[in-house]
């Protein structure tokens, strides 16, 4: 997965780091480490995460 290491938050001009973020879907919440700006919290979700693991979790929750 793309780490986002060469990626910076455009406002704070600092590199993104893998940090916990909170997600929710269909009344369920969970946390996952994604690239975030350590200053302002701006999240970055790479395409392979959205199309891969996130889609898997979405599908699982839809079937529940």
């Amino acid at each position: 997965m793309e780490s986002g290491r060469s990626r910076i938050c455009d406002r704070c001009k600092v590199e993104l780091r893998l940090m916990d973020a909170q997600f929710s879907y269909l009344k369920r919440s969970f946390r996952h480490k994604v690239p975030r700006c350590p200053e302002c919290g701006q999240v970055y979700i790479p395409e392979d995460l959205a199309r891969g693991r996130m889609r898997e979790v979405e599908t699982t929750l839809e079937d529940k």
Partner: protein, 771 residues
């Protein structure tokens, strides 16, 4: 929902095949045939042995009553189960009797008569470890079998099958009265004394026809030739008696009369395929190969009309009773943590094409149950919004100010007719709607125009409230136009309005064009490809004979040679679009479209634009009948993308208002919000269409990122990434600033359904008021 569930009690899925109900042993013929077909002779033998007790005796006594009811009798010759059973005796390598290691039951049973019936009962009861004692009046075992077959066959069978069992055999020990057994400690007696033998009062009317009574605490049972059962039936009586005695000794209850109910099974006629019977080369018995080929001819009769016609049962490999059970479990109230929801996706995948109730001999309406299930899930707030969100938003767009239109004919206040093209035809090709309306106006200048969505997306989503609003919206506009007869172009609109707004007078565009043809001055654009064609009737037009024949007449009038479409003859089936499973189960939608497309090598003529698009997407040549009548002869066009479908609807509304009513409408909203010049390449547009991401959504994301600065920057690639939540969905766009003029090039777009929470709250401080 209860109404639909009730019908399932008539389901014939579990009815036995015809042959099995004729056979005294009523065994699982389908399983037997399957094993024989695969050449699993040992397994087939075990099955047959377990069903008959004494397989060699049963095979010797068999008179093949099954052959009289085998449907293959009229299609090359009845399946010879008798020879197949013999073949399993011939080719099974392991025919040793089974032994069961059970504790002794501690109860004793007397069996009067060592004929086939008595010995069968002795076999079963001794295997269950009852104390069994057989009293035979003559000096030998076998009874009437001595008249029918070689003694080594039945004596050998008795010996082999009883090899592992303990029982006592008393020859030359006739029992003439009940009192003779008194004091011997028996708990039950099976009387199989043969034709004309002692009956001990069991055959009297007092026995209630069941052939069983309790005398002084001992259960007495009768069977075999004594009660008139001949041949193999006597043998099966003994097996049945053993079951009855076992049950009596455990519960104290006597069985009712033995009822061999006839099967209610109905075989789907298309299942019958001619195949000549396999004749044994040696004239007597099958070789291994012959046996396997004969087994292969078997139709494996069962009621499976739904499995043949309904794509969902095939795709999920599920039978209707299981689907019912899964739907019941899924829709039960309660949190998903404490109960299963196995049918959630299945219900959402259904095309709601209603094929099941058309082909089911019991008239079971699985479609109705699934729709009621969707409504229940929606009511409970448990339907995943993502499954139908795209089409619900599309419906709202269609019924919004930018696309909906309700106008009396140019220069008039009210109308006798109103053209109702639906939302998707104009979305696909606005020109077809405009030209069709033009033709109607030429024939009847008192034809108004009503462009709206019929509400099907809300109905299919199980959203009863929203669906009711959509239908009420149409009703209100219809009133405004002076209650005209609606002329619908889309078969789904016809079906929906007919079902939910039956008070609206309604007719199909195709019947109307056919009828008004001369006055409408139809000049066909002509065939767009090489003929001949097959007309693909959509599922929604199944019972619309008028539209079906009108489309054929219009196509032939346009110079098309037509051929019938075999797969659609009995019942019109869905193209995969119906019920909108495209998000919930895209694999299923595509499976259905591919299957339908493959049912004929001919190009199709469709009269539902959703069918047309579904087929063209699968690479099938397909043209809408209106393209033949009003198209530019351009042939198979690429279906419009999701964004084009919205633009087309706006353009249609604006163009019609301008050209027919002289009303000029300002283009709704700037194409590029915030004055940004955002560009998207062909490749990206195609991917976005695949993912159902609209160009407007991409623009909205870029505008948001540029305005708020909420974006990340990839120094290596020189690109920005950011997202915005629109409705339920979160959309991501990767873009770069291209050139000095401030143009922005969108490079990639994707979305996710889960929401990123609390991003604006960082280190406990709410940092971004705009999120």
């Amino acid at each position: 929902m209860e109404d639909f569930l009730e019908k399932f009690s008539d389901c014939l899925q579990k009815e036995a095949p015809f042959c099995a109900t004729e056979c005294p042993f009523r065994y699982d013929v389908l399983d037997f045939i399957d094993k024989m077909r695969k050449g699993l002779f040992n397994a087939a033998f075990r099955l047959y042995r377990n069903a008959t007790g004494f397989p060699h005796i049963a095979a010797g006594l068999c008179r093949a009553p099954c052959e009289g009811v085998c449907p293959m009798g009229g299609a090359g010759g009845a399946i010879s189960l008798r020879l197949l059973e013999r073949a399993c005796l011939d080719f099974a390598k392991d025919k040793r009797a089974a032994g069961y290691n059970l504790p002794a039951k501690g109860k004793r049973v007397a069996i009067l008569g060592a004929g086939p019936s008595g010995m069968a009962c002795a076999l079963r009861l001794s295997a269950k470890k009852y104390g069994v004692e057989v009293f035979e009046g003559s000096g030998r075992m076998g009874g009437r079998l001595w008249d029918f077959m070689e003694p080594e066959i039945f004596l050998g069978d008795f010996r082999e099958q009883l090899r592992n069992e303990e029982y006592a055999l008393r020859l030359d020990s006739p029992v003439r009265g009940r009192d003779e057994l008194d004091g011997m400690g028996f708990d039950a007696v099976y009387v199989a004394t043969g034709a004309g033998g002692a009956g001990f009062g069991l055959l009297d009317a007092g026995a209630g026809g069941a052939g069983s009574l309790v005398y002084g605490g001992v259960g007495w049972f009768a069977g075999g030739a004594l009660v008139g059962s001949g041949g193999a039936r006597a043998l099966s009586d003994g097996l049945a008696a053993a079951t009855a005695i076992d049950s009596y000794l455990k519960t104290g209850n006597l069985p009712g009369p033995r009822v061999d109910a006839a099967t209610r099974m109905i075989l789907e006629p298309s299942r019958l395929v001619q195949a000549p019977a396999v004749v044994p080369e040696n004239g007597l018995s099958f070789s291994e190969g012959e046996a396997r080929r004969e087994a292969d001819r078997c139709l494996k009769c069962r009621c499976d009309a739904c499995r043949i016609y309904c794509d969902l049962t095939e795709f999920t490999d599920k039978w209707p009773l299981r689907i019912r059970d899964e739907i019941v479990a899924t829709t039960l109230p309660g949190a998903s943590e404490v109960k299963a929801t196995p049918a959630k996706r299945l219900m959402s995948a259904s095309n709601l094409a209603g094929i099941c109730k058309e082909v089911c001999p019991a008239g079971i309406d699985l479609e109705g149950l699934i729709l009621a299930g969707r409504q229940s899930m929606h009511r409970q707030g448990k339907a995943p919004w993502a499954f139908h969100d795209f089409w619900i938003r599309d419906m709202e767009f269609s019924n919004g100010d930018g696309a909906a239109l309700c106008m009396p004919p140019p220069g008039r206040d009210s109308c006798a007719y109103a053209f109702f093209p639906g939302c998707q035809l104009g979305a696909g090709d606005p020109l077809l709607v405009e030209r069709a309306y033009g033709a109607l106006l030429r024939a009847r200048p008192d034809t108004g125009l009503l462009i709206r969505c019929c509400g099907a997306p809300a109905g299919w989503a199980g959203d009863v409230h929203r669906h009711g609003e959509a239908v009420a919206g149409i009703q209100a506009e219809w009133e405004r136009l002076g209650r005209p007869t609606l002329i619908a172009a889309c078969p789904s609109c016809m079906l929906e309005l007919g079902r939910y707004a039956p008070q609206l007078p309604l007719r199909s565009l195709y019947e109307t064009l056919h009828e008004w043809g001369a006055a409408a001055r139809l000049e066909a654009a002509g065939p767009v490809g090489e003929g001949p064609y097959a007309v693909f009737d959509p599922c929604a037009a199944r019972h619309d004979a008028g539209a079906k024949s009108a489309v054929r007449a219009l196509a032939e009038g346009a110079g098309c040679a037509l051929r019938p479409l075999a797969g659609q003859e009995r019942v019109t089936r869905c193209c995969g679009y119906g019920g909108q499973p495209g998000v919930a189960s895209p694999e299923y939608a595509s499976f259905v479209a591919r299957k339908r497309a493959g049912e004929s090598g001919l190009p199709y003529i469709a009269y539902c634009v959703n069918c047309r698009d579904a087929f063209v997407k699968e690479g099938k040549e397909c043209v809408h009948i209106l393209e033949l009548l009003f198209g530019d002869g351009g042939g198979m066009a690429r279906p419009a993308t999701a964004s084009e479908r919205r633009r087309n609807r706006s353009d249609l509304r604006r163009g019609l208002l301008d050209r027919l009513w002289g009303v000029s409408v300002r283009q709704e909203g700037p194409d590029d919000p915030g004055g940004l010049d955002i560009r998207m390449g062909e490749g990206l547009l195609a991917r976005m269409d695949e993912d159902r991401i609209l160009e407007d959504e991409v623009r909205s994301v870029v505008e948001f990122c540029q305005r708020t600065g909420r974006r990340t920057y990839d120094g290596e690639k020189g690109t920005f990434s950011g997202y915005r939540k629109i409705g339920h969905m979160s959309y991501w766009v990767e873009y770069r600033l291209a050139g000095a003029e401030g143009a922005i090039e969108a490079l990639n777009a994707y979305s996710h359904r889960m929401e990123i929470e609390l991003e604006a709250v960082w280190n406990g401080v709410r940092t971004q008021p705009d999120l």
